[in-house]
Symmetry: C2
Amino acid sequence: MTRPLIHVPNPAFDLVFDRIVDVPKELVWKAWTIPEQVKQWFTPAPWKTVDCEIDLRPGGAFRTTMESPEGKQFPNVGCYLEVVENEKLAWTNALEPGYRPTTSLAACPGEEFLFTAVISLEAHGSGTKYTAMAIHQTQAGRARHEAMGFRDGWGAALDQLVAMVKARRQL
Amino acid sequence: MTRPLIHVPNPAFDLVFDRIVDVPKELVWKAWTIPEQVKQWFTPAPWKTVDCEIDLRPGGAFRTTMESPEGKQFPNVGCYLEVVENEKLAWTNALEPGYRPTTSLAACPGEEFLFTAVISLEAHGSGTKYTAMAIHQTQAGRARHEAMGFRDGWGAALDQLVAMVKARRQL
């Protein structure tokens, strides 16, 4: 196998969120890759993730349906790009499952919200260095994602993930 | 590792070219993945491939520059999605290297020419069953690719590939 790609963020286009968490990376990986777990933490409350489908392989589907406090549902679909157990998970909404380029109108300049997400996990003592990178199509896409509350949103979701992992350990 | 994705073509969106060739798949793989070899066969004559850059890993760059008989150059860039030695090579022009969704205007409906290509190689006696699949964003994209001469073009390029492999064996 060739050496894996190192993702170097471009500050004008990309958003990076990282944090050390005190749960092991193997459990963070499960939280990201088992639908029943994803539904418990993925969307900052009071929003919910009411459905999740995961076909965990390159080209496979990553589908989620978020629900607003008012009950409106927002389905999302992405395509996994890299699946390296306990280390790296990458997917994009620029491709549909099976790698078909998306037909979403979001592909048009001015309306874009296409991005690739890369989650990287590294052991850090008994915990995990957690890094989430959002790689946008355009600077406008980055700005829009940031204005939507990227950092607070990913932080709140990660808080929920860690709380879920700890609660499951006590079962 | 999970089972690999089986690509089932959708006839309305996809184009498939397959053929049995009498050279082993390991040499077809080299022809696709070594820049100096790609330049020798990739573009049906009298067009030429005058430059080629390959970063052979998921997320890596696949760049080619084609030159028309009049000397006009056409650069192309794609991003590798799957690299399974001697078996499967997939890339897309919907993502730039590093998985950034493309900013090409071609992403807009009506102008689209985004697609993912999947080359599959299977041993067939001492030769290879060669399958190339082009997975388009839209039915219009498929129609445009077909009208550009997909079948003749990929066939002529494969003829050149096989001729190159045979010539190299005789060196």
